[in-house]
């Protein structure tokens, strides 16, 4: 426990606790939500648009469903969307960047041009276009965002590789006859992956925000699945009189994104500090 606090600081540990809580909420939603069936979408029209009360801690939405349960179930969608987007982007971007940076030459040039094109789009737009083309659904929107994000990781990986490639121990390994593949995996990959993983942790927050923006627009999960972005959109008509319908999911997005952001910062400060000391 104290090792954790040393690693992340008090703020960072708090954020980790918040994130873990949300993860648990997401995992055990059916058991933790007060009205699981409403959380999953069953309407309850008699209790339409009721303010927060003892029965419904966060009030009910326009179909009478318990907002708290919907928020808890929404955690499943948002957490998985944020994590998957980052994971996919990393899975695509890291190898491409590694190969381009290590082997250089025309492959590298080609990669740079391709990433230039992808990065020329203001982020959300390409994702919107792609999600619209792929059709509705959570996986489609996750893929759409991942396709717009991988170039960042590819570029980062490439930059790291370029630095590591010139390190004496890499040169030494290749002089000793170690195969290219082995050098890449055993010597370069660990060094390159590390800052990328830190960046990935920092990125889960923005990924989450992007995914919820997409579902706010109508691209993303299909109704009646609970999703925070979609819930904010649904509640817009009743804002600000029945503020809880939009406010609850909105604030939740904000809190979780904040937690990831501060955690990522804490990780990066420690990481940056360590690297500086080692240099």
């Amino acid at each position: 426990m104290s090792a954790l606090v040393r690693r992340l600081g008090y703020g960072g540990t708090l954020c980790l606790a918040v994130i873990v809580s949300f993860a648990l909420l997401a995992l055990f939603a059916p058991w933790l939500a007060p009205y699981p069936d409403q959380g999953m979408g069953t309407p309850n029209v008699i209790a339409k648009l009721k303010p927060p009360s003892a029965d419904f801690w966060l009030g009910t939405d326009h179909l009478g469903r318990d907002v708290l349960s919907r928020v808890i179930f929404g955690a499943r969608v948002s957490m998985s969307a944020g994590l998957l987007i980052v994971a996919f982007s990393l899975l695509i971007g890291l190898p491409i960047g590694l190969l381009a940076g290590y082997f250089g030459g025309w492959a590298d040039e080609a990669l740079m041009r391709v990433t230039d094109v992808f990065l020329a789009f203001p982020a959300l737009l390409l994702a919107v276009l792609l999600a619209a083309a792929l059709g509705p659904g959570l996986l489609n929107s996750i893929v759409a965002v991942a396709v717009t994000w991988w170039p960042w990781y590819a570029r980062m990986a490439r930059a790291e590789v370029l630095v590591l490639r010139g390190q004496p121990y890499v040169e030494a390994a290749s002089v000793m006859g170690v195969s290219q593949g082995r050098i890449l995996i055993r010597h370069i990959l660990p060094g390159a992956a590390r800052p990328l993983l830190v960046q990935a942790a920092l990125d889960v927050g923005p990924a989450l925000l992007t995914a919820s923006s997409l579902s706010f627009l109508g691209l993303g999960v299909l109704p009646p699945t609970a999703d925070w972005g979609k819930m904010v959109d649904e509640g817009r008509k009743f804002f600000p009189d029945r503020w809880w319908v939009s406010a609850a999911p909105g604030i939740t997005i904000f809190l979780l994104a904040l937690a990831f952001s501060v955690l990522g910062d804490a990780l990066r400060d420690r990481e940056g500090g360590k690297r500086r000391d080692a240099a």
């Binding site: 041009r113 982020a123 737009l125 083309a133 923006s213």
Partner: protein, 340 residues
């Protein structure tokens, strides 16, 4: 000479990117979907409409040919027809693009005005209360979802305080009873041209909330970047030398240190503009701002795919152009950039 070469290379790169962007949009629009014709035919298309779309898209022709058709159409401004408005998309774009650009430019200016001085002061008064508040604000602005922030601003300034209008670009009275003649599409400029100061104020009042929403995140980044850059610069030898020469503190801070930080500031402009262009999609819905963003979001709902494709392409090209301008400006400000 170096500068000329760098400029040339940069322009060529932009040209290449333009082609690449067009190609990517083409791929997403016509190659990715399982049935592009159905997408283009509009919501709930009839078989006849789909067949017509197939012809328009020339789906049986080889890929390169289709791309050339696509590119030339876009190049000549023929973006097709919107299924919702039944109008030429290019006509809609001509009206909506300036509205969004006005928002983007204004929010970028706000972001710089808020972020840069805050960053300078935070660096000069490092560790102080002011610095900590600034950092906190920056962290919060990064995590706040744009659409939610917009709603909050509406709540506070329109509903509770009642000092700023809720939505739209101009008050109802003006747009209905005495409409502003359309010259550039930028209300602020048009109002000045028409010599109507009351309208200028009205347009400004309507601009503030949406621009502020879009400026929050970039301002946070601007503050962070400026602060970090200034901290590094203030430790440099030439600043110590300047202090040793007896120059006054404000002169050193703003005359010697800040000019070195212009690079990061320009980066922020690029970032801010991009963020505004994409964020506009969300913000325009909430503020009922008749711009490209709202155009696109409605197209999403009505599955008006040609609109989405056209808007994406146009906005992206604007963005590429703007980045080129920023990069070339960087050379003027810091000549060393071109030499690396």
């Amino acid at each position: 000479m170096e500068l000329v070469r760098y400029t040339l290379r940069r322009v060529l790169l932009s040209a290449f990117v333009v082609v690449g962007v067009t190609f990517l949009v083409f791929v997403v629009a016509q190659v990715v979907p399982s049935d592009p014709a159905a997408l283009y035919a509009g919501p709930r298309p009839t078989a006849e409409q789909i067949a017509k779309a197939r012809v328009t898209l020339d789906l049986d022709a080889p890929l390169p040919q289709r791309f050339v058709r696509f590119a030339t159409a876009m190049g000549t401004g023929d973006f097709g027809v919107s299924y919702k408005s039944r109008r030429l998309i290019s006509q809609d774009l001509a009206v909506y693009l300036p509205a969004t650009l006005e928002l983007a430019i204004f929010s970028t200016l706000l972001a710089l005005l808020l972020g840069i001085p805050t960053g300078v002061i935070a660096a000069a008064r490092r560790g102080s209360w002011l610095d900590r508040m600034g950092s906190l604000g920056s962290v919060l602005s990064v995590a706040m979802p744009t659409f939610f922030f917009a709603m909050l601003l509406q709540l506070v300034f329109s509903q509770w305080l009642g000092i700023l209008p809720l939505s739209g670009r101009l008050s109802q009275q003006i747009s209905i009873s005495d409409p502003l003649p359309f010259v550039t599409g930028f209300n602020l400029i048009d109002a000045v041209i028409a010599g109507r100061p009351a309208v200028v104020l009205d347009a400004l009042a309507h601009l503030i909330l949406p621009a502020l929403t879009l400026a929050a995140y970039p301002a946070g980044i601007a503050m962070r970047l400026t602060r970090a850059a200034m901290i590094e610069i203030l430790a440099r030898r030439h600043i110590i030398a300047a202090r040793a020469l007896g120059l006054s503190a404000p002169r050193i801070l703003f005359g010697h240190a800040l000019p070195n930080a212009v690079g990061p500031a320009l980066t922020v402009i690029g970032l801010s503009f991009a963020y505004a262009l994409t964020g506009a999609v969300l913000v325009e819905i909430i503020f009922a701002w008749p711009g490209l963003g709202r155009y696109v979001s409605e197209a999403i709902l009505s599955k008006d795919f040609p609109v989405i494709a056209a808007a994406t392409l146009v906005v992206t090209l604007c963005y590429v152009l703007m980045n080129l301008v920023i990069d070339l400006t960087q050379i003027i400000v810091d000549p060393r950039v071109a030499l690396t």
